[in-house]
Point group: C2
Chain length 208, copies 2
């Protein structure tokens, strides 16, 4: 049981925060709009606190639960306040109709974050292939991760496991690009017959 | 029950050919090396025949089961012989260590094939996220597909279903790029803890 911080007050912040509390962690919610952050912390209930925007988060793991366009600017704004932290990027850089990615092909939001973060900050991509309502349901779904630092991935994997979910390591941070593409695949699957009550996962041994 | 053609005599050709025969189809095997094609057809057994390289395949569905570098040249070489056919591209354009794609970022092998194929040829991406041994096992795994023509996708989906597998439509042919990236993700998962007895699939409703 540890303390995690969530930057963002939206529905993904709420879903991950609720799972984290259920998993026995304490949760610090931080939002640029402190009223929204306070409202989310209250909704989450005991164990949730409100942090101060722009100050060093309490948790070793910092979930960046904001829209993709805000992710890099926020990490830049935080600067050294994120030193030694593990930043978990959950964003999907979709274009307007979620048919393509809206960032250059040779990078990912996670890599862009890593580029602007302090050298001691480790960035891990995770959770981007899970629709909010799937995550909120708390079923034991697969959570794909990618990152360059083995220790950071081990910590994030332990956190994911503590939520009752399955961490699935895809490799180094360059794989974040393909995980962001997997978000597009998932949108395609949802729109072409399966509906949105799905997520991508791993079939082990051809099991059904 | 229909007749399908497979261009290629390698292990993916063998795995798909065996499933197709088991599904009640007849299978035409075509290889540039006719000895290899003949050997594969014999190994597959009753219902398998050998076609003539470069001539119009018998099947409406033509599985292009060759290494990615050969796919576009072969379709170019066949030219009008592939008119009105559905060409199923199963390739993964991996670089030497399967850590990145070896073709430009704004396309896919499937789209490159479509670019050089006759106008009446429909290209469908499928099967590229299945390791040969997973496919050979015949368990009811997910087969992701992508293509621009709804009728062609319906025919390929029916074929996949007849093999005891589950077609999963991801959208138009532009999604083939992300399916090729999903091949990289799968390699990453295999190398980072899960091993190669896996495939990517869809978790419906958060089910385990």
């Amino acid at each position: 049981m540890s303390s995690i911080s969530i930057i963002g007050s939206g529905n993904m912040a709420g879903a991950i925060g609720a799972l984290a509390l259920r998993g026995g962690h304490t949760v610090e919610v931080v939002g640029r709009d402190s009223d929204k952050a306070t409202a989310l912390a209250r909704a989450l209930g005991p164990g949730a606190t409100v942090g101060t925007w722009g100050h060093a988060p309490v948790g070793d793991i910092v979930i960046l639960a904001v829209l993709f366009a805000g992710a890099v600017p926020i990490v830049s704004e935080y600067g050294e306040e994120l030193a030694d932290k593990i930043v978990v990027d959950i964003t999907n850089p979709f274009n307007a109709d979620a048919s393509a990615l809206a960032i250059p092909h040779d990078t990912s939001v996670a890599q862009q974050i890593s580029d602007v973060a302090p050298a001691s900050t480790q960035v891990v991509k995770a959770f981007n292939t899970l629709f909010r309502h799937i995550l909120a349901a708390g079923d034991p779904v697969d959570v794909f991760i990618a990152g360059d630092d083995a220790k950071a991935k081990a910590k994030v994997s332990a956190f994911i496991t503590s939520l009752g979910l399955r961490p699935r390591d895809t490799g180094d941070l360059s794989m974040a690009h393909w995980l962001e593409g997997a978000g597009l695949l998932e949108m395609g699957l949802a729109r072409n017959g399966l509906g949105f009550d799905i997520s991508l996962g791993v079939q082990v041994g051809g099991a059904e």
